[in-house]
Amino acid sequence: MDIPYTVEERPDTGLNNAKLGIWLFLASEVMLFGGLFSAYIFLRIGAPEWPGTMAGQTFATSFEVLNVPIGTFNTFVLIASSVTMVMSWASLMMKDFKKYKLYMGLTILLALAFLVVKGFEYGGKFSAGMFPSESTFLAIYFTLTGLHGLHVIGGIVVNAYFWGPGAKMWETDPDRFTNRIEIAGLYWHFVDLVWIFLFPTIYLL
């Protein structure tokens, strides 16, 4: 038996089930990240100094603790990956499977690049003795960027599946496969969107 409404719209919701499902999931994600953002605001306005003292040094701005050029570079990388993601979907809509493979491959590579850069950033902090337990600033920094990083890893796993073994569905059910890429894209753009807010609030304020 086929699963109903994987591609065709349900008459009562006007959406296919996959799309309603991903939007409900993203709604819960808004609350997850929103809760942590409000925690950040709460901690920040209640702190006599920010980012404050950590690893024996006192900092007056988050500029001095975090590397703004690296953070900016990673913002470019993630935005570019969002573009390649939407292009991989558009390629399928234009029935160009080769281009799909190219753009999806690029999306995965850009996501990996983001993680590698983030890894170097984390490594630099750890080697300077800056651990989450050192200060409130570092605690919320590692929590927010760490959770975001987990989302990037999740996106890479899903996208790698659709780039590799999952892509076989293009032969048997192209409409459903295209829809899957659109749904995976919605998730990926959300991860990009979270970073768009994370970057200025944590790195620049």
Binding site: V7, E9, T13, G14, L15, K19, L20, W23, L24, A27, V30, M31, G34, G35, F37, S38, I41, R44, I45, G46, A47, P48, E49, W50, A60, T61, F63, V68, T72, T75, F76, I79, A80, S82, V83, M85, V86, M87, A90, M93, M94, K95, D175, T178, N179, E182, G185, L186, H189, F190, D192, L193, I196, F197, F199, P200, T201, Y203, L204, L205
Partner: protein
Amino acid sequence: MGHSTSIEEVKKHVKTYYMVFGALMVLTVVTVAIAYLHLSIIPALILALFVATIKGSLVACYFMHLISEKNMVYLTLGITMLFFVFMIGIFIFAYYGQEGVYVVP
């Protein structure tokens, strides 16, 4: 966006995607430039969130196709936004006018 979208329409979308890409890159530079102005926290926060909101809206409207979605998606997001604003608001109201609240540059 349903599977009935024509190839011609998708080609138009592709142009939009690259324009949005350019806008996002420029706005990222703007975000960083604002930070280097070293404004005090309130104007810096307002400006940073304003630019981030424009960027976020571009991603949501064009990459996530929210500009032309079904009502059920808008309803889901509308309810989410209500809860989100409530969650942020509850902290701000709880804190408003209390002692020991610092706004540091």
